[in-house]
C-alpha cells in the first residue's frame, strides 16, 4: 500500500551546499528505487533556527513530499537517525488529513449553496414586499 508522506530534515551548517544535495539525492534515490514518486522537493537553504541545536544557530532545511510504500519510510527513518550531519528530521503521513480536508471542503460548498439559496429567496421576498407597498401607496393616493 502506497500513501503520501512528507519528510523534512535539517542539516548542520558546518557542511557546504553540495553535501546537502548529496544527502537529499540519497533520500530521493531510495524513494525512486522502491517505485515511489516524488511529488515535491522544497529546499529552503540556509536558515536561522528558532533556538540552538547542539550549539548550531543555523541549518539547511529540506522538505520532500512523496508517494511511497510505508516500509521505505521506516528504513529512511533509521538511516536519518544514524546520519550525524542531520540535526533533526520529521516524517508525516498526509493521506488521512487530505481525506478529512476534502470532506470539509465539500461541506463548506454545501453550506455556501444553501446560504445563496436562502439569500436569493429573501431578496425575492423583499422585492415582492416592496412592490406590494408601492401598490398600496398608489391606492391611498387615488
Amino acid at each position: 500500500m502506497t500513501s503520501r508522506y512528507e519528510i523534512g530534515f535539517i542539516v548542520t551548517p558546518e557542511v557546504n551546499e553540495e553535501e546537502v544535495k548529496k544527502i537529499t539525492e540519497s533520500i530521493t534515490s531510495t524513494i525512486t528505487k522502491a517505485q515511489g514518486v516524488i511529488e515535491n522537493l522544497d529546499e529552503w537553504g540556509r536558515k536561522k533556527l528558532a533556538f540552538p541545536i547542539h550549539k548550531n544557530l543555523e541549518g539547511y532545511y529540506v522538505f520532500v513530499q512523496a508517494e511511497v510504500d510505508g516500509s521505505v519510510i521506516a528504513t529512511l527513518e533509521r538511516r536519518l537517525k544514524q546520519m550525524e550531519k542531520v540535526l533533526r528530521f520529521i516524517t508525516l503521513r498526509l493521506d488521512d488529513k487530505l481525506k478529512k480536508s476534502n470532506k470539509l471542503t465539500k461541506r463548506w460548498a454545501k453550506i455556501d449553496r444553501l446560504r445563496k439559496k436562502t439569500m436569493d429567496s429573501r431578496e425575492e421576498k423583499e422585492s415582492e414586499d416592496f412592490n406590494e407597498n408601492e401598490e398600496d401607496s398608489d391606492a391611498t393616493e387615488k
Binding site: F51, I53, I90, K100, S101, N102, L104
Partner: protein, 91 residues
Amino acid sequence: MQPRSSDGPGRPPKKYYSARKKFCAFCKDKITLIDYKNHKNLENYISETGRIFPARVSGTCAYHQKQLSKAIKRARQMALIKFSEEKKRLS
C-alpha cells in the same frame, strides 16, 4: 432617576462597549489543512513567551484549534518556532 448628561455636573456617563464576536480565522479563509511549515502564520497564535493561546482567546473553532496545536508542536520540533522564552523585564 434622570440620566446623567455630559453637560451637567459630575462624571460624564460611562461608556459601555459590547465585545465584538470572535470568529475562526481559518474557517473564514477556508483553510482545511494547517501546515507546520508556515511558521509566520503560526506565530500569531503563540504568546510572547511561546505558549499556545487557548481557543477562547484566539477564537478558533475546535476543529482548527486541534490542528493548530499539533502544527505548532511540529514547528517547534523542527526549530521553526521557539519552545519558550523568558519574559523581558523592564528594570
